[in-house]
């Protein structure tokens, strides 16, 4: 179980010097064996929350507890070794490092073709065509995204953080993507997404707004939660257009 207690994250504007709260006094709990989807407008702090959970950034206030242990001050490596696994929104490219290299680094062991085939076929890729390819600009955005997810599968873990896993993946492959979530149903999964098909897989949806987080569980009318707040869209437009 992952618990976030009174989490705040504040940044300082480099130009104006003004302090801005990205997240403020956030209290959230993500249960074991649950798929949680975080959704909400741009700039509402969803990706920041993922970074705080993984340890890329430290909260300016509050605590992160994992299975009762305070991990707030632990670094990325320590969290990864405790079972935190992340798939980036924007996959990273590496000159010279192959898909096989990355899968082996992720799994922490040598992998044979069957092992790699298991991870890659889960994301709709054929191992034979990919294992020796470099994870660089020669791969398309969709291929990189799938390999990013395959790495998460290869690594395994207890807590999965998937930041917009559908980005760059064609609509025709959505069902394959949803199958990956099914494979992780015995873990704690936190997905940032805006896609209805992914929202439908959730046990719990968290709607991020700047001043509030609302949550709805399976069985409740999740979409009512979203449609109840049409002001979100209008406010976004207003802020972007008129500052």
């Amino acid at each position: 179980m992952l618990e976030l207690k009174n989490i705040s994250y504040t940044v300082q504007d480099e130009n104006t010097g003004r302090r801005q709260d990205i997240l403020k006094d956030l209290d959230l709990t993500f249960a074991d064996k649950s798929i949680n989807v975080i959704t909400g407008p741009n700039g509402s702090g969803k990706s920041t929350l993922i970074k705080l959970i993984m340890g890329f950034e430290k909260p300016t206030a509050g605590k992160v507890l994992f299975n009762g242990e305070d991990v707030t001050m632990l670094g990325v490596t320590e969290r990864a070794r405790r079972g935190f696994t992340i798939a980036f929104q924007q996959p990273v490219r590496f000159k010279g490092i192959t898909v096989k290299n990355l899968l082996e680094l992720a799994s922490g062991k040598r992998m044979d073709r069957d092992d790699m085939c298991d991870c890659l076929s889960a994301v709709g890729l054929c191992a034979r065509n990919y294992i020796d390819r470099a994870v660089d600009g020669t791969l398309s955005g969709g291929e990189l995204k799938r390999i990013e997810l395959a790495m998460a599968v290869a690594k395994g873990g207890e807590l999965f953080l998937l930041d917009e896993p559908e980005a760059g993946i064609d609509l025709w492959s959505f069902e394959d993507l949803v199958k990956i979530f099914d494979r992780l149903r015995d873990k704690t999964v936190i997905i940032v997404s805006h896609q209805q098909r992914i929202l439908e897989t959730a046990d719990k949806i968290f709607l991020f707004d700047r001043d509030k987080v609302s949550a709805a569980e399976r069985g409740e009318d999740m979409f009512a939660l979203l449609t109840r707040r049409p002001a979100l869209c209008r406010r976004n437009v207003k802020e972007n257009c008129y500052g």
């Binding site: 993984m54 990864a80 935190f84 992340i86 590496f94 000159k95 010279g96 290299n101």
Partner: protein, 305 residues
């Protein structure tokens, strides 16, 4: 052959003892072993230090090893090796040099290699430079490689220097005839106070000739690398130079491109990128459970792979 010799040979030429086929092994300025075959003849020069390697026309799928070992200090040599590759031949040439210098005097090997590729000939040239030893003496290589490709000939050069070399100045010149091709893959790692200078000059003389030079380098410590390339397009041709460098510590990499489209039909491209390892690369690997140091090593290993 002692233990040091065996280790150097394995590092620079993947050899576990004396190879089969044609070879010439040189140690501390003297011949250690040589073998000519009917296909590839090795003839010592009479006027200066060095050998002629003559590959008969049509010889394919053969290789020749010409490693050089230096295991003493206070030693400097310049060796002239000329390669004559017959029409339609297709061979691999492995020409590594290893220095093990435990002395306080300097050890330096300068190989001047000149390749003459006849029509339709194909060469894969593997050159590995490596140095070790605890002495304060310098360990230096100043290789010169000249490549002359006739029509439709193809020369691939895989040049690797992965540590221990105090200083190196590497000069490569190529003249490409009609439809001739040059492919260079260079990998250099420097550390501490080491310096490496690489200088390529390629003249794309023949129509539809093609050159592709890819240099990947990692500079650590306070080492300095200086990469220079000069592509001259004299006809309808394609030339591409790519210099990628990773900087660590207080190291420095200087990349100087020059492309000269003498012919308006020439197409020449230069790309260069030098900088630290991207923070996101380290974070991604750390999120797989690697420490920062392990992540850095993995990025460098892949980059120089």
């Amino acid at each position: 052959m002692d233990k040091t010799d065996s280790e150097l040979l394995e590092t620079i030429a993947d050899l576990h003892g004396i190879p089969e086929g044609s070879f010439n092994i040189r140690k501390n300025g003297k011949l250690m072993a040589r073998n000519s075959t009917a296909d590839i003849e090795i003839v010592p020069k009479k006027d200066k230090d060095g050998i002629d390697i003559i590959v008969k026309p049509g010889v394919v799928n053969k290789s020749v090893h010409i490693p050089v070992l230096l295991t003493v200090g206070d030693f400097k040599e310049t060796v002239y090796n000329d390669f004559f590759i017959g029409e339609g031949a297709d061979v691999t040439i492995i020409a590594g040099c290893g220095i093990h210098n435990d002395a306080c005097g300097d050890a330096e090997h300068d190989g001047v290699h000149t390749f003459h590729l006849a029509k339709n000939a194909k060469v894969r040239y593997i050159e590995r430079h490596y140095a070790a030893g605890d002495g304060t003496g310098k360990k230096s290589f100043d290789p010169v490689t000249n490549i002359y490709c006739e029509e439709n000939a193809s020369f691939t050069m895989e040049s690797t220097q992965l540590g221990g070399v105090t200083s190196t100045v590497r000069k490569t010149y190529a003249l490409l005839g009609k439809k001739a091709q040059l492919l260079v893959k260079e990998k250099i790692l420097t550390d501490n106070e080491e310096s490496a200078v690489t200088d390529f000059k390629v003249e794309l003389k023949g129509e539809h000739s093609r050159a592709d030079i890819v240099s990947r380098s990692v500079a650590k410590g306070r080492s300095v690398q200086n990469f220079g390339s000069d592509l001259v397009g004299l006809s309808e041709c394609f030339g591409h130079v790519e210099c990628d460098g990773i900087l660590l510590g207080g190291a420095r990499i200087i990349s100087t491109p020059k492309i000269d489209a003498v012919s308006p039909e020439a197409s020449l491209v230069h790309e260069a990128a030098v900088g630290k390892i991207a923070g996101e690369q380290l974070l991604k690997l750390m999120s797989l459970g690697l420490t920062e140091q392990e992540a850095e090593n993995a990025v460098i290993k892949g980059f120089l792979n």
